[in-house]
């Protein structure tokens, strides 16, 4: 599912991964000093529209992914209402003799929305970037040494294998009559075979990579060049425009 979206021929998929990563970092930095709830709400809406409209991700899939983040965001509101630093004066209503103040709800919403903005931008990156292109762009544009770049790729391939292996160990232990208890001792029993397997696999892969002539140096050809193209210019332009509009709207209406 994930890789189907990552490979889609849409606008966001064509943008240089390094640029996308950079914009995620800028968004996080820009959001830090903003405390009103409206700016992040607006930005969140725009981001979702971008993921769906420019990235071709289905709304259903996106909402499913956002669900846990929504719960996480809501927990901020809850915390602000129940354990406020200082209870606000505009009481909206009371839940079981606990007053709920507008000011506290506002702070909660702004914190929660901020978390959602970070989540949505991370999703924008993850859903529209092929891992291989990301790694190549890190190596080619950000001067990451190939040793780490290709090492990361090898590790990425291990993730599903790791999950499968854990599943197998759990069933194997269940068959031996250990049941499904989750205790610390149980953890040790999973951990040793899992680590033994992981170390062996990593070693074999490293040897296989070297036997194919991989020396981790920069003196290699790149068959696929991640180049700057028009999509990057358009994306950069849009991104700056987004920030300017956001800043302007905030100045005009929210402050």
């Amino acid at each position: 599912m994930l890789d189907a979206f990552q490979k889609k021929n849409c606008f966001l998929q064509k943008v240089n991964p390094a640029l996308k990563l950079g914009s995620v970092l800028v968004i996080i930095a820009v959001m830090i000093p903003i405390f009103d709830p409206w700016t992040p709400l607006l930005l969140f809406g725009v981001t979702l529209a971008m993921i769906v409209g420019l990235g071709g991700v289905s709304i259903r899939f996106l909402s499913l992914l956002l669900l846990p983040f929504l719960l996480f965001g809501f927990s901020f509101i809850w915390i602000q209402v129940v354990f406020p630093d200082e209870r606000g004066e505009t009481i909206l209503f009371t839940i079981a003799s606990m007053p709920v103040a507008l000011e506290n709800v506002f702070t909660g919403v702004s914190l929660g929305m901020r978390a959602l903005v970070f989540a949505s931008w991370s999703l924008l990156f993850v859903l529209t970037t092929e891992p291989t292109r990301f790694m190549l762009s890190l190596v080619q544009q950000c001067k990451l040494p190939p040793r780490f770049g290709y090492g990361m790729m090898a590790a990425y391939r291990f993730l599903p294998a790791f999950q499968q292996e854990l599943q197998q160990i759990r069933t194997a232990h269940r068959i031996r009559g250990l049941g499904e208890k989750r205790k610390l001792k149980q953890f040790k029993r999973y951990f040793i075979p899992l680590m033994a397997g992981a170390i062996r696999k990593a070693e074999r892969t490293a040897i296989a990579m070297e036997s194919k002539g991989f020396d981790g140096k920069r003196s290699r050809t790149f068959y696929q060049r991640i180049q700057w193209n028009r999509s990057d210019a358009v994306f950069a332009g849009m991104f700056v425009a987004l920030l300017v509009v956001l800043f302007y709207v905030r100045m005009e209406w929210f402050i």
């Binding site: 890789d3 891992p131 291989t132 290709y150 790729m153 090898a154 990425y156 391939r157 599903p160 294998a161 292996e165 197998q168 160990i169 069933t171 194997a172 232990h173 269940r174 068959i175 031996r176 009559g177 250990l178 049941g179 029993r189 040793i192 075979p193 033994a196 397997g197 696999k201 074999r204 892969t205 490293a206 040897i207 296989a208 990579m209 070297e210 036997s211 194919k212 002539g213 991989f214 020396d215 003196s219 290699r220 050809t221 790149f222 068959y223 696929q224």
Partner: protein
Amino acid sequence: MIDIQTTDVSVRYPMQNNPSLPPVSLEINQGEKILLLGASGSGKSTLALALQGLIPRTIDAEKTGSVAVKGMAPESWSITDACQHVGILFQDPDTQFCMVTVEEEIIFGLENIGISVDEIETRLENSLAMTGLTKRRHDSINNLSGGLKQKTAIACLLAIDPETMVLDEPTANLDPQSTEDILQLWMDIAENKNKTLLFIEHNIGNLLPDIDRVIVLSKNGGVITEGSPREVFRHSFSALEEEGVWIPTICREALKLEAEGKMNWSQLPLSLEEWETECTRIGMEKSDIDSTTAEKYQIRDEKPLMEVKNVSFSYRDHQALTNIQFNLYAGEFVALAGANGAGKSTLAKLLAGIHVPTTGSIIRNGTPSENMRTDDIMKQTGFVFQNPEHQFICDTVEDELTYGWRIAGVAQKEWQKDVEDMLAMFHLTDKRRENPFSLSQGQKRRLSVATMLTSKQDLLILDEPTFGQDEANTSALMNILQNLHRNGKTILMITHDMELIEQYAEKVLLVDEGAIKYDGAVDTFFEKKELLHQASVQVPVSRELKRWRETFLRQEILC
């Protein structure tokens, strides 16, 4: 021209007392196709790593003696040069790759050696075409079957185009048809490109006549014997047998007939084809009457141990099994066969209660599984996983064996004697105080089977128990299983090895494309040529030979 020359080369890994590769001297010429044999512990794989220079360049091990490839020392090469001199194809297809798709993986190797983009393009297309992977180039490697993964690894090697290629058991876990396809592919490549090929493999099948020279390594160092396959298997038969080295079934049978004075081979047959040509030449024909049908498989009329009724199973994205229906009876030895990815493991997991059928029902001892708790089902069935390490939960071999009794609360004096018997039976007595993880591959495998026997399961399921095991370990394990079977245990074994089915199983279940295509006796199974072909299964050589033996016996009677 001499390609590879080693002089008393020996390798010892740190923390080990004995060398992993005892000193060995050998010479290999340019363009030769070599079959390297030796019992486990003779250091075949280690030798491969030393020839490439990976030992001592990357792997921390102490090397003595000297290796010369094309007159140069491999350790003096840079990493990028080394891969163009000697390429290795490794045994485990899952740990050879670092990229996502087939194409990316091939390109990865080509980028490493720093050739131009145009050159990469040409070599990529060529190697994809040679391995028949052109249509699969954008597929994710993770989703490929074992055979296609191995083909991808071959494509990578062909693209880099090293002068010498070492193939370290490249077909160990493949079904018979894929094995033959891949070996044939190598023979064609060797023919067209005049490469030096070094096979570290025993299951070379019908391609033995194409091998130029066999070299047999000894566990104690040095070469036991070398020469053309015919010479080696004829003149050093007893030496090889003593060392525990694999001998092709066909040679074994041919020499046996000769020793009994029934046949005098002008040249020792290396394949069934050669055997038949030679026999036809002296005017013998294969017997049609099959004496083996005499010991016919009997359908039992008792109540089945397990009834599988109309079972289907789907994973999240695809249907794995459709309308499976069969019965298992107490005391049977059943082999579960089929091509890679046909659904054998899934079926085994359904029987063990690890998976629950999507539709249909499995009735165990008269009770439908729906009415049973998963943990109770699992207690009825022993399941031996492909990787034995997954099943170890204790710190010593003895604890591991007694674990089942201990959690069941059985008093020590009741099982004390059983443990001793068990340790003896599985040849683990002197290892009883050791950690299960420190055992050798064969010992780990035996222990994982043993742990499944201490509780009173009705059925023992084994998922490719002989994978990665050498000749000696395989026969040790199979003898144990046969003993258990004689004592009344019901055994179901997944395997690709048709020789094992022929020798040990009573009944075969053939799974193909998610359905049971055959359920019945072994003898009739191997008669169904078309069915076998469809399911990528081949008749074992020993079966064909049995018939020839008949001919020889009858002829004797006539004389």
